[in-house]
């Protein structure tokens, strides 16, 4: 019942968000695009750190690889950038296999530093790719994005400039990616594998004793999040139109922000990243005129959350009111009482 209510509210919100490029100003579309991309990254990191116990500081590796592969397919092989996004995601996932073989040998803090070092190796290596501008980077050709799938149709439909149409298309894709990601997370976490994952997180020994294989599950999550992170990275850099190794593999932009978003919203909860990304956006808007002050605020809030409310804003709220609109567990099986309403 409450899943249906949540689903209905979600659909209304999704429709409202989808109408933004039609009704809203372009600057809002661009802002919300960034917010949606950060949300996708946050959902992925939450899955990794909050559910699989893999505290990675190297997710920027997959953002950068997705983006660079998209640029390569577009510039060097003349493909549609949207096809490049898909290939970018696939290559990021393929690359996550050797990374996993290396990083999974390391525990806890070692894992965090290991993934970070790998991401730095990726940044420096892609900086050697002369065809894509080496260390100084390169830009997408104008025509490539203008002739991108769907841009012409949106232009005719909304009667806007090509640049605005590109913004609209990338925005809708980011919205779709965020919605699919959210739904996929929910379905995955309630599935047999997702429950196994949460069991491992809560008590690894007990979980193994009932036949859960932690390494296999964690590797699966690592691969899937690399794919989604790669997709998101490629999409981000279609909209930006320019790439440099430092921007594509930025630990601050694609991992630090994301970590704070998840922690502030509530790590290990599904809606936590949504709350966190809203707080992040609000801070960025409020403190836009004061340089990097919003980063200081973000860091201090993150520290305060870890000290005083470890569940984060959403997790704390759920804990206090005792009602979870998006439960990840299943109701315990009960003896059949056909007239009784199902209650958790």
């Amino acid at each position: 019942m409450r899943t249906l209510v949540t689903l209905a509210i979600g659909l209304v919100l999704l429709t409202a968000m989808a109408l933004v490029p039609v009704l809203g100003p372009r600057i809002l579309v661009q802002d919300l695009f960034k917010v949606l991309c950060l949300l996708v990254l946050a959902l992925n990191w939450n899955l990794l750190a909050g559910f699989a116990g893999l505290v990675s500081v190297g997710q920027q590796a997959f953002v950068g690889v997705g983006a660079y592969v998209m640029f390569a397919t577009t510039i060097l092989w003349g493909m549609d950038p949207l096809a490049g996004v898909l290939i970018g995601g696939v290559v990021a996932m393929a690359l996550s296999v050797p990374v996993a073989f290396f990083a999974f040998r390391l525990n806890g803090a070692y894992f965090a530093i290991g993934t970070w070092a790998v991401a730095d190796i990726a940044r420096l290596s892609f900086g050697q790719w002369r065809a894509l501008g080496g260390g100084t980077g390169t830009a997408l050709p104008r025509d490539a994005t203008r002739e991108m799938l769907g841009v012409g149709a949106v232009r005719d439909l909304l009667g806007v400039s090509p640049a605005a149409a590109i913004d609209a298309v990338t925005y809708w894709l980011a919205l779709a990616l965020a919605a699919v990601m959210l739904l996929a997370c929910w379905l995955f976490l309630r599935s047999r594998m997702g429950l196994g994952l949460q069991a491992v997180r809560d008590n690894p020994v007990a979980a193994q004793s009932v036949g859960v294989d932690p390494t296999r599950l964690k590797a699966l999550v690592f691969l899937l999040t690399a794919f989604a992170t790669g997709l998101c990275g490629a999409l981000l850099f279609i909209q930006t139109g320019r790439i440099t190794p430092d921007a594509a593999f930025s630990v601050i932009d694609w991992t630090a922000f994301v970590i704070f978003i998840v922690v502030i919203g509530g790590i290990g909860t599904l809606p936590g990243p949504i709350v966190g990304v809203l707080v992040f956006y609000a801070l960025q808007q409020l403190l836009a005129d004061y340089g990097t002050v919003y980063l200081i605020a973000l860091g201090l809030i993150g520290i305060a959350i870890m000290l005083f409310a470890r569940r984060g804003l959403w997790g704390g709220l759920i804990h206090r009111i005792g009602y979870d609109p998006l439960p990840l567990g299943h109701a315990a099986p009960r003896p059949p009482h056909p007239t009784q309403e199902e209650r958790p």
Binding site: A49, V55, V57, F102, R105, L106, G108, A109, Y110, A112, I113, G114, W116, A117, V118, D120, I121, L124, S125, G127, Q128, G135, V251, I252, A256, I259, F260, V263, I267, G291, T292, V293, L295, I296, L298, G299, L300, G302, I303, M306, L307, R310
Partner: protein, 287 residues
Amino acid sequence: MIWLDTLVQGVMLGGLYALFAAGLSLVFGIMRLVNLAHGDLIVLGAYLILGIGTATGLNPFLAAALALPVMFAFGWLLQTALLNRVLGDDILPPLLVTFGLSVVIQNVLLQSMTADSRKLPVGPVESASLPLGPVTVGVMPLLTFGSAIVVILALNWLFYHTALGRAFRATSDDPVTAQLMGIRPRRIFAIATGIALVVATIAALYLGARANFDPSIGPARLLYAFEAVIIGGLGSLWGTLAGGMVIGVAQAFGAALNPEWQILAGHIAFVAVLLVRPRGLFPRAND
């Protein structure tokens, strides 16, 4: 002969990385705390030395001596007020708190000191060099390397020949039993972080004297330092020195082949060592 020269430069650079890493290794070994703000704390130390030097007109070496007690107090306070509260079985809270601290320190420095790069003016010793057999070595790199050896000797002496060191080792091995013997782990941790920041300040002196620094360079130094700690093996200070030298030599040879490969070569050496020995070269503790 150029290769011998590169090797020597690499070893000297390794001394600097060992200095970055020694404080980290100490804290990590005693309380399993991963301090992701360590690199930024080193940069903070460099700005403090610069500030004291500018205010008093003292040579950076003397200014650093004045900065040592300040940084010790800061470390003690940091551990008492903040880090002790998040230590526990879960590694996530300390990781995230120190990550937050890293971002805060970086941006506070950026706001107050601007992004301009600075350097510590150490005077004529900066360009002095000594002929050592077939190679010529700069006095500053030699001083850096010598300081790294002295710091590690001093830390080892502290660890194995003093009551405080005994308390460090006891708390590291079994905090509950240590408490039964009248040791307060939180106090021990506060002293350890204070000492770690003293070492960080010494590292800051050589960092600032060797090359330009600005508020954003902390995380990269942290990465080199951590690689050195992990290569060396948890809890072994001499291992940390060896780890620093592995990174330093790899970077020197990488740079000799192509200046763009310097950092890359260091990272690849790190990955290669870990692929062969996942627990580092000289692991002491079993975790």
